[in-house]
């Protein structure tokens, strides 16, 4: 066998495909999620090798690329979907690489004859890219036999089958509800090639996320504040409606409000340090510390 | 020209207005520090002063003679706000690479001009100065009109966008041909050529500039036969078709009469020659605006102004005047055909016709920015010695908004006029299709044409006949510029 030229070594192809850049970006912008990132890299590797195999005439059937992202809110599903779309574009599996993110309301109509045009409109816009359906299980409402969601599902199934070259669909939502949805919609389940589970963030990861968010906003915690916020995370995680990174962002927004009110009470000129430092008092005023029941 | 001695205006009124002869610069027609106002009209002249005449004094003379000056001092100046009425030469640069020639910039106050009158603009700017003795030669290279003045003109009665909407033809250049031979065809024979060309695939046929109402074919006969041909071709193809009926005549009354008859017969377009003059052009433009008629301008005679590089008026200025005066079609050169014109310079003329806002573009001979104030756009016409084999070059140079006129290239086709028209239309559509598909038509053009000719024998015939013909002469009009100004 001939020695492969440098341009055709797998490593060179990998570097040249631009996938590496996208994965690096994903690494930089999302803390943790190690298993998810590994799965994305695996899928990218598989798709690249598929291309090589096609060149050798080994396999000609286009791979099914529809995916399901399961996990609690705020675990990075939408962000990963956007990067996935970029990866697919770099590898030539979708032409445009844009992401159209929708929920049930965008697909399902209010009256007879309303649903098909709505769903088709969304599919039209997503062609050449990725259609991301958040909380996809709401499409299926078994309690109502005449629910128009079923019609949307059928049109989606058709598009997923007939336009595999034009469209990748990613369904997303809580794991348990997604499982129920698939068990009642086996047609949908059979068309999903990759299931990726997004774990909840650990307390340490949530702290890192907070630091990253603050860094981008030009704020930082002092030592007491850091300790207070670690405690905050610990308490908040056990409370209802916890939404991982999203809850952290919301908490930081409220902390910044309290910081602003506090520093305005000063009777001297504010230093740069004062404008950027969050203190324990800004955090400890949160209701999370009052009781385990409210937040 | 920082190194020249700056002549000083004489500001002491007693000295300035004592009887006698003063230098123009001393009279105040030169002001090297003048910063043109947003409302000034600007002109750029290329001047060749006589031996021994200082370029700044020559520039001042140009400013003087194109505004208030006369050869001697007149006391009646002092009854006016003469400082304002004086045009000001404010910059003189040597023309790069051509010793003895200078670019001189002159600013004119808006109050010097009558609103909506190209006759007045031309009488001022080119009225006197071109016969002026201290200059060997002078050429008006470019002009800038403040948007306030632009808005005093109605501009093209139809414009590119509306013309396309009326014709229902989009996304490709329009196709035309001039009926040939120019002279001698009877009305009946003339209409035959029109029908064949239009049925074969052209959008327009055209009268030539000197087809008026001669003994061999009176105008009414021409109009009647031509319109029968136009309507028959329209029914045969399902397309809107037209033939530019030349209404050029000896008097305005006669032109209006002919235009009226063209309208009654259902023509969508009439034509006039540049030689009818600015006032007649603006009058016919008004008539066209009132009668939903496209106005085609044949630039007959322009070469007497535009041809010489050192003397006359550049065509880009004529094109600006005509856009203000209000014509819809304007012959603006081909760059690849039999008539003169360097490709970049010709593109400059096209941009003047079609821009919403023209930017300074020295390579294309555009010295001034021009805000067109939402004036409609003129459809440029490329006509003269072009054929189907050059389709890729023409589309690459000029884009979609142009009428490509293949006179000889249609009527001279060995298989007949319809075949000639079809060859052009197929070449055109194949090239636009290929360009839109992302192909590099500049280089792949000949192959695209050969591929289309495989299923279109008229195109094969055209390529066999003219495929190799090019007109390569040294251009007589290139723009002189250096990318970085050499003048300190």
């Amino acid at each position: 066998m001939d020695n492969p030229t440098p341009a055709t070594t797998p490593k060179a192809l990998w570097e040249g495909s631009g996938v590496r850049t996208v994965l690096d970006k994903l690494n930089a912008e999302l803390i943790g999620l190690t298993p998810v990132k590994r799965r994305i890299a695996d899928i990218a590797a598989l798709l690249l090798v598929d291309k090589l195999r096609q060149l050798e005439g080994l396999q000609s059937q286009p791979p099914s690329l529809h995916m399901c992202f399961t996990g609690n809110p705020g675990t990075g599903k939408t962000t990963v979907a956007m990067r996935m779309a970029e990866v697919l574009k770099q590898l030539g599996y979708v032409r445009k690489g844009h992401l159209v993110a929708v929920t049930r309301d965008d697909l399902v109509g209010q009256f007879i004859g309303h649903t098909a045009p709505k769903t088709k409109e969304i599919i039209k816009k997503a062609m050449g890219g990725v259609l991301f359906i958040d909380e996809a299980y709401y499409l299926y409402r078994p309690e109502n036999e005449r629910d128009y969601g079923q019609e949307a599902i059928e049109i989606l199934l058709q598009a997923m089958e007939n336009h595999r070259d034009d469209l990748v669909v990613i369904l997303a939502g809580y794991k348990d509800r997604m499982d129920t949805f698939f068990s009642s919609n086996p047609g949908m389940a059979s068309r999903i090639a990759h299931n990726i589970d997004f774990p909840d963030y650990s307390e340490g990861e949530l702290m890192q996320i907070a630091d990253l968010m603050l860094e981008r906003l030009n704020y930082h915690f002092d030592d007491d504040a850091r300790a207070a916020f670690a405690h905050y995370i610990h308490l908040r995680r056990q409370q209802p409606h916890f939404a991982n990174a999203r809850s952290i962002r919301n908490a930081l927004d409220r902390i910044r409000l309290r910081h602003a009110t506090r520093v305005l009470e000063a009777d001297h000129a504010l230093t740069r340090e004062q404008l950027t430092t969050l203190q324990a008092a800004d955090i400890l005023a949160s209701r999370v510390f009052n009781s385990g029941a409210s937040h | 020209m920082g190194n020249m001695d700056q002549p000083q205006q004489i500001t002491d009124a007693k000295k300035r207005y004592s009887a006698g002869v003063l230098k123009y610069a001393q009279m105040g027609y030169w002001d090297g520090d003048y910063v043109p106002k947003a409302t000034d009209i600007l002109a750029l002249f290329r001047i060749t002063p006589q031996e021994g005449v200082d370029p700044i004094e020559a520039a001042a003379a140009v400013a003087g003679e194109s505004s208030t000056a006369t050869w001697t001092v007149v006391w009646t100046d002092r009854l006016t706000a003469c400082d304002m009425y004086r045009a000001k030469a404010y910059r003189v640069d040597p023309v790069p690479g051509i010793p003895g020639q200078y670019f001189c910039y002159v600013a004119y106050d808006l109050s010097l001009f009558e609103e909506g009158s190209i006759a007045n603009v031309t009488a001022s700017i080119i009225g006197n100065v071109f016969s002026f003795k201290p200059l060997k030669a002078a050429r008006l290279e470019d002009m800038q009109f403040p948007v306030a003045y632009v808005k005093t003109f109605a501009g093209p009665p139809t414009g590119i966008v509306v013309e396309r909407e009326r014709l229902d033809k989009f996304g490709r250049p329009l196709l035309g041909a001039t009926t040939k031979p120019k002279l001698g065809l009877s009305g009946r024979n003339y209409g035959r050529v029109v029908y064949e060309g239009l049925k074969g695939g052209l959008d327009f046929m055209k009268d030539d500039e000197n087809i008026n109402s001669q003994p061999f074919m009176h105008w009414r006969d021409r109009f009647l036969f031509v319109m029968d041909a136009v309507n028959k071709a329209s029914a045969a193809t399902g397309e809107v078709k037209g033939s530019y009926l030349n209404v050029t005549a000896g008097t305005m009354e006669e032109m209006y009469k002919r235009a009226q008859f063209a309208k009654e017969l259902g023509s969508i377009i009439i034509m006039i020659d540049l030689v009818v003059g600015w006032t007649a052009i603006q009058s016919m433009s008004n008539w066209c605006r009132q009668n939903d008629m496209i106005l085609h301008m044949h630039r007959a005679g322009h070469g007497t102004y535009t041809r010489q590089k050192n003397h006359g008026v550049s065509f880009r200025v004529i094109a600006k005047w005509l856009r203000l005066a209000g014509v819809d079609h304007l012959h603006a050169g081909t760059a690849v055909g039999k008539l003169e014109g360097d490709p970049m310079t010709v593109q400059g003329y096209y941009n003047v016709c079609r821009d919403t806002h023209t930017k300074v573009d020295l390579q294309r001979g555009i010295f001034f920015e021009q805000d067109w104030g939402a004036l409609r756009k003129v459809m440029p016409v490329a006509s003269g010695g072009i054929h189907a084999g050059q389709m890729h070059q023409l589309i690459d140079l000029f884009g979609d908004d142009v009428v490509l006129q293949f006179g000889g290239g249609t009527i001279g086709h060995p298989q007949g006029i319809q075949a000639g028209a079809t060859a052009n239309r197929v070449a055109l559509e194949a090239m636009v299709l290929a360009r839109n598909e992302g192909r590099d038509i500049k280089n792949e053009g000949p192959q695209i044409l050969r591929d289309a000719a495989k299923w279109c024998s008229p195109l094969q015939g055209a390529l066999d006949t003219w495929g190799d013909i090019t007109f390569n002469y040294t251009s007589t009009d290139t723009s002189d510029f250096v990318t970085t100004p050499s003048v300190s």
């Binding site: 034009d166 | 028959k232 992302g438």
Partner: protein
């Protein structure tokens, strides 16, 4: 006869692949795309019926081709054209328009001449198909 309205009527009928490439060209330019159909192809019949509204936010030609296919399926014997709209100031009009479907048989137009004094003739054009049948039953 073959009606030669539209940008590409002198070429052989475009394949779906060719149509897709033209659509892609339009989308790249940021133009909106509409699909229109008619059974009255008079040269001055400007307002063909719209098969849905012009599409403004579609990113890929495949999205438009879904509608092209649907329109052809609904109106197989009508004239159908793809029309692109450019909203740029100074244009704000149609910038490309080409026929992508036509009836199997095109009877064409009759030229009606009414003579008037002074050898003047008034012309009108009438479609044989339109004259023969009501809308929707013409081809």
């Amino acid at each position: 006869m073959r009606i030669t309205q539209g940008t590409f009527s002198f070429l052989p009928d475009l394949s779906d692949e060719q149509i897709g490439k033209q659509v892609e060209y339009c989308l790249d330019k940021g133009w909106a795309i509409g699909i229109e159909y008619t059974d009255d192809p008079h040269p001055r019949n400007t307002y063909w019926d719209m098969f849905g509204m012009p599409m403004f936010d579609v990113r890929d030609a495949a999205g438009i081709m879904l509608e092209v296919t649907a329109c052809r399926k609904t109106f197989p014997q009508h004239y159908i054209r793809v029309t692109a709209f450019d909203s740029t100031h100074g244009t704000e009009s149609v910038v490309l328009s080409f026929i992508i479907n036509r009836p199997a048989k095109e009877p064409g137009f009759r030229l009606i001449r009414s003579e008037e004094p002074g050898r003047t003739i008034r012309y009108s054009i009438e479609s044989y198909a339109v004259q023969a049948h009501a809308e929707g039953e013409r081809y």
